[in-house]
Symmetry: C2
């Protein structure tokens, strides 16, 4: 069992984010939480309307301890909630199927990060511009400058929801089969079947202009490469670019 690491760069542990089960798999430090968030393209956002929970898959991006995503079905509700609404945003990666010698000990290897905060519509033009800075470049660093310029009308039509991560936890299982000692003699195959999300061969748009090659930010999404590693690398490059911009400015 790994000693739980708590540094100054950790989220506070409260009744809301404290792990209810398998404490040994939990971490509350920024590094562990961000590693899971940054390796994911899709997240799931839970929110409540009139007591009814909703769980919406969407694309998220991160700037420091802020998370952003596009307008969801919560948008209309949020329009009327200037103070924002509590949400829980979760990113999960499945890493393996764990087949034990008893049904009870079957499991999965995974990484997940659960983040709590108060979501609100990012309406202020400066704040919105800042939030939208990463929407393309966080995934494909440098690509935004290569695109057709964004029209003011598009920025206006784009609903951006944001929240500061108030509390969070990460949970990881990365281990082999854990059978009961007396079961290892049971005659059945047991083991881990790893799974990973990988990149396939790019399908260029049929209307591509002649000679249009992928630039570095896109070319890093190479055939056969793991998506989680590629996304984590892109986030690091993006953060480096952002810091460089801020030094120049």
């Amino acid at each position: 069992m790994k000693e739980q690491e708590v540094t100054s760069a950790s989220f506070a542990v409260t009744a809301r984010n404290r792990l209810k089960r398998r404490h040994d798999r939990g971490r509350y430090d920024h590094e562990a939480v961000y590693a899971v968030l940054d390796a994911g393209f899709l997240c799931h956002v839970a929110y409540v309307i009139d007591g009814q929970p909703y769980c919406t898959p969407t694309i998220h991006w991160r700037e420091g301890d802020w998370l952003y995503w596009h307008g969801s079905s919560a948008s209309r509700m949020l329009r009327n909630l200037k103070g924002g609404t509590p949400v829980c945003l979760t990113v999960s990666h499945l890493d393996g199927l764990v087949l034990a010698r008893s049904g009870f000990n079957h499991s999965a290897n995974y990484r997940s990060a659960i983040c709590f905060g108060t979501a609100r519509i990012i309406d202020d033009p400066d704040e919105k511009a800042k939030a939208l800075r990463g929407v393309v470049d966080r995934f494909y660093p440098g690509r935004a400058a290569e695109l057709r310029e964004t029209h003011a009308q598009e920025t206006k039509a784009t609903m951006v929801i944001g929240m500061r991560i108030e509390e969070a936890s990460a949970k990881v299982r990365a281990a082999g089969v854990g059978d009961d000692e007396e079961d290892y003699g049971h005659p059945v195959w047991a083991g881990v079947i790893p799974v990973s999300t990988v990149i396939g061969a790019a399908e260029p748009c049929p209307r591509l202009l002649p000679g249009m090659e992928q630039t570095a930010s896109v070319a890093s999404y190479r055939v056969g490469r793991r998506l989680d590693e590629t996304l984590a690398e892109a986030q690091l490059l993006y953060e480096g670019d952002t810091e460089a911009d801020e030094l120049v400015a």
Copy 2:
């Protein structure tokens, strides 16, 4: 835009499950919803405690229009809620990154199913036995019989949550780049980068007995195969086995 298919085998469309955006991508029929559910190993469950939403990743399995999963942080709350609690269970698959010529038209290819119901603890012994029938065999059809028999104590210790799907919707984007007509002349690479979750080389437990080979249900998780296809196939085999059992019984 595809004509929306509504057959008798469809979920009712209400304010809760009606798509708020991109109606053209939505389906409400059982077939479309089950296809997304059955191709996934992980789901995300949203529920509410004292107004606070939670979004928990977990493993789900399906029997007809019922969904089951293991006890989550909601368990303690559910213990005191005999009538159950409203939840939203979502399964999502990322199929591709869509890189357009403008930031605004960047997108993703995906399949998602959002299911609404009232979750409760499955406590009744017969109902629990029925719910647990699929917990191994739905993923690895026939494996349960090969395992060390489940102890009564384990069944007791296993918390099973279940819900009938009251309403649901599926949403799919499976398309190329959709740029504005005037942007196709913009000089930048555009296209789709497909992604898929695939199976890696099995890692046998180091304490495997000599000669223990994978049986068919596990061997179908072959290296390089797509996880979603393998899971969907397993569900079909499982349903076939279940029907055969019922005919015999």
